[in-house]
């Protein structure tokens, strides 16, 4: 469904992403891991259209997306969340989803919004202000809910579990698993926690200094000494 071919993103002299090739199949869950600054979020930005790759191709359902503007990519079925939640400030939780659905799919379907609210445990907060009246877990859930409201084929989750306490994390994980089944989406998820990734993903890709250093099943990847070296530092290798 999503295929990156030799994608590079350079900011001036800095190469944030270096000739990365990666794919996510329909209904597949792929983890994207790597140390801070490895280029994971930049890769997300390249796919969703916030930054332009310096070279390489990004194909979604076999369509080259180099020229597709941000909003078109959303309509084609690419949904994403932000690491730091970005609720639409002046709106209620429900209005956030109405905007996402109306502009992401072209129509408003109230039942589907209710369904998403219910699913992401936000129904009780539907009429609260999205920026000022939500706890962190709820803000993270709203990120997912907004993306879901656009009826994506691919959901890109940028550290949605980061900062949550253990129980919250567990509940969120369960929600992500259920979501994958219920809404039949492919998922590309950035996450640091190895256990979470192993539990959730069919496949893991590892970025280090902008380069893809491993791509395989969680078992294979997390047994790779080079991966562990980049991940935990040399002493643990």
């Amino acid at each position: 469904m999503l295929r990156l071919e030799d994608v590079s993103v350079r900011f001036g002299g800095l190469t944030a992403v270096n000739t990365v090739s990666l794919s996510v199949g329909t209904h597949e869950v792929v983890g994207l891991v790597g140390p801070n600054g490895a280029g994971k979020t930049t890769l997300f930005n390249a796919v969703s259209g916030l930054v332009k790759p310096s070279s390489g191709r990004i194909l979604f359902d076999s369509v080259d997306m180099l020229r597709a503007p941000l909003h078109k990519r959303a309509r084609m079925g690419i949904g994403r969340t932000f690491q730091i939640p970005q609720p639409m400030h002046e709106l209620t939780v429900r209005e956030n989803l109405v905007v996402a659905q109306r502009f992401g799919t072209g129509a408003v379907d109230k039942d589907r919004i209710d369904e998403v609210l219910e699913f992401t445990n936000l129904a009780a907060k539907a009429h609260r202000n999205a920026a000022t009246e939500l706890a962190l877990t709820e803000l993270k859930a709203l990120e997912v809910a907004k993306a879901l409201a656009t009826q994506p084929k691919l959901l890109m989750l940028d550290e949605v579990l980061a900062g949550l306490e253990t129980n919250g994390k567990r509940r969120f994980m369960a929600m992500l698993k259920a979501l994958h089944e219920k809404f039949a989406v492919g998922i590309l998820i950035i996450e640091h926690d190895i256990e979470t990734i192993s539990n959730l993903c069919h496949r893991v890709a590892v970025l280090n200094f902008g380069e893809l250093i491993a791509d395989g099943t969680p078992d294979e990847v997390f047994r790779d000494p080079e991966v562990m070296k980049s991940y935990t530092g040399a002493s643990h290798a």
């Binding site: 909003h71 959303a74 970005q86 400030h89 905007v99 502009f103 992401g104 799919t105 907004k146």
Partner: protein, 330 residues
Amino acid sequence: MYVSKTGFAVIAAAYVAVPLLLGSNSYVMSLIVAAMIIGGIALAWALLGNLGGMVSFGHSAFFGVGAYVSALLTMKAGLPVLAAMLLGGVGAVVASLAMLPVLRLKGPYFALAILAYAHIFKILATEWSSVTGGSGGLASVPRLPELAGFDLSSKTGSYLVILTLLLAFIAIYRAIRSSHYGLALRAMHDSEDATRVVGVNSTLLKALMLFVSAFMTGVVGAFNVHYINFLEPDYAFSGLWVTLPIVAAIFGGYRTILGPLVGAVTVYLVDQLIFKNLIPSGHQLVLGALLVGMIIFSPGGLVPLLRKALGKISGAGKDNVAQRAREESC
């Protein structure tokens, strides 16, 4: 469209009571019409700022283009005045097309770029003298017509025309704000990337707001030219056509629909009827002081301040829901 009882009463008073009580005083009527012209631009300016998130110093361009287009269409093509006024608005929209490239600029950069455009149009009007009459201007621009035996070019007639235009603008503004587009525009304020990644074409929405704002300002400019029957570049593109509306909008509350109109009428009438008599030269100084005071004590402007005061009188917190609904609607 929902109109509250108070709103209905105000509209009725504006159509009936004002002409009956003040219609014979042509000085006061001319001040009211002038205030409403400022109010119309202020409303259009505030729409662009409130919904589109753009601060413009260049609305005099739309005002001037609207005036010239309408004047020329009536004088050279013989079009009826009322139709030409609407086409004046269309002309301003066409002029705003030239501004699309600067729509990507943010904050002060957009404000300055659009100011430059205003100057370009003024130079065009001055230099393209075969069409516009150059700096000599256009004299005897056709007056507002008679409608069903009623002379619209009279002070009261002109007042009713601009009143009707303003009410139409309010209706358009409300319709946009309560639509899904309005929701997306509000969402774009602080979180533009977040709205774009869910499929909102933010550039298109901003462009649409620019068109609507330009259209309204152009129509007001066109109304004004048929009201005063004379036009020249320095007047049509004068910076006053944007600074006064900005003062009015901010004074009244630019994030509300009624704020700019209330601000324009208050500021202009208070200035002309009171301060001008007290301090014949330099009376605008008081306006500046009033504006600064307003920004310090009620940054939201006069209308939010009045609402708060009225809310206190009618029982604190008694009908918060109704209050909220009212704020949403006007």
